[in-house]
Symmetry: C2
Subunit: 270 residues, 2 copies
């Protein structure tokens, strides 16, 4: 029974393609794990929706992943991690990992002057999930929050290195610069694509924290501790599911995953 669970897939979900930046990191340190990924492309984005909606969407996805007999659930979406993690944990019997806590841990271990900037979607910023978690770990930190609603559409438009994106970033990051934060958390899985632009605006002395690598390490630790690491040799099997437009997911997903996506299936989960 244990053996069967060990070789079960890791279930990962996101509102769309963004979570593939986390899958990319996971593949580096857990190349032989099987993965089932779900992208909710029919209802993307989550970051502008209400808490109720994000909880409802996440619950429906969890029901789908549970049927795939996953051994761990990784909520790769910052908005769902910020708003729905407790609900998801109550629903399932397997470990659930979100991206907020690993991102907060990274930020705290990175900052020298204890001034941290957090950027994310409207819903993530409004939830104050990063701020609360950082305060729990580090106590007194100065934290500056800023929602950046245009970053997701800019990244999806592929304008990852344009002057106009730099102007928009300049507008959003004004207060974070002014507060002299030395560390900024990229609190949305789309934002690593805009690292160059954000980096140019903030200057080279400010460290950008992208939780993906830390999240992957956390998943590995949990699987190790629970003796749930895959025992099979060779490269794991990846399955991709979306609620809409599989071809588009394939095309854009390649940029996020850093490699070709062979097949994507459309499923109806509502």
């Amino acid at each position: 029974m244990k053996k069967r669970l060990q070789n079960s897939p890791i279930g990962i979900f996101d509102s769309g393609v963004g979570g593939l930046t986390v899958v990319k990191e996971l593949l580096k340190i857990l190349p032989n794990e099987n993965i089932v990924y779900f992208g909710d492309t029919a209802r993307v984005p989550y970051g502008t929706k209400s808490k109720d909606a994000v909880i409802k969407f996440s619950s429906e996805i969890i029901d789908f992943l549970t049927k795939k007999n996953v051994k761990l659930i990784l909520v790769a979406c910052n908005t769902a991690s910020a708003l729905a993690l407790n609900t998801i944990r109550r629903k399932v019997g397997v470990p659930v990992v979100g991206v907020i806590e690993p991102g907060a841990v990274s930020a705290v271990s990175t900052t020298r002057n204890k001034k941290i900037g957090i950027i994310g979607t409207e819903a993530t910023i409004k939830s104050k999930a990063y701020e609360k978690t950082i305060r729990k770990i580090a106590g007194s930190c100065k934290i500056v929050n800023r929602a950046c609603p245009l970053f997701v559409p800019i990244a999806e438009e592929g304008w990852v290195d344009r002057k106009v994106s730099e102007i928009i970033a300049g507008e959003y990051l004004k207060l974070i610069k002014k507060a002299h934060a030395d560390t900024v958390v990229l609190g949305c899985t789309h934002y690593p694509l805009l690292k160059n632009v954000i980096g140019r605006v903030l200057g080279k002395n400010i460290k950008l924290v992208d939780s993906a690598a830390e999240v992957a390490r956390k998943v590995k630790n949990i699987l190790q501790n629970k003796k749930l690491l895959n025992t099979l040799k060779g490269t794991g099997h990846m399955q991709f599911f979306v609620s809409d437009a599989p071809e588009k997911f394939k095309r854009i997903g390649k940029i996020f995953l850093g490699k070709k996506i062979l097949s994507v299936s459309k499923v109806n989960i509502t």
Copy 2:
């Protein structure tokens, strides 16, 4: 029976708040009509989704509006008008009005040099709905299409008169300017909010066509011809329904409708 139908509401839907620009025009010429409006804020935007998804979403909304005993359905969303109008017409027994045909009629009657630019969401532009309709009416026209995926998020961010929005518009409208179009169709209900920015980029000799006023006239004509105009005196009653975040709809909707929205109800239609 006829009397009862006359005083039934007009059903209007959009993916979100954008359709309120059409309601605004409707109120000007049909102030005593009752209106039931549905904004699909849980699944907004439609413009980046597939045809299948837009048809499914539209069908679910039509089922909801039909239960409200509407006497006419106005599809105020360009994307749904472009992709789902035939499906909707097959589903219902009342007149169905979309925004594409009225927009195309306006464009053809506006252009002098028979060179027309069309801007809209990815899905609307891909459907070529405006182009096909214009060609049916006017035959040989030069038509330049351009999807402007960032216009909706910019309008929702409220950046309706900023330099950065002008730079983005400059990028999107480059080919339309180059083609010397004298008329540009604003093929998305969000775009009238960006009229100033778009106008500055295109220059004052280019006419912007916003289908809202033409759509309102068409609705009035149909109701007149079918003897379905409301017989009640005084101002009509408006009901607003959304699939998510009613408070946000109220707040942003005010900008689109040009007046305060008193009450919005959240309903689950899936």
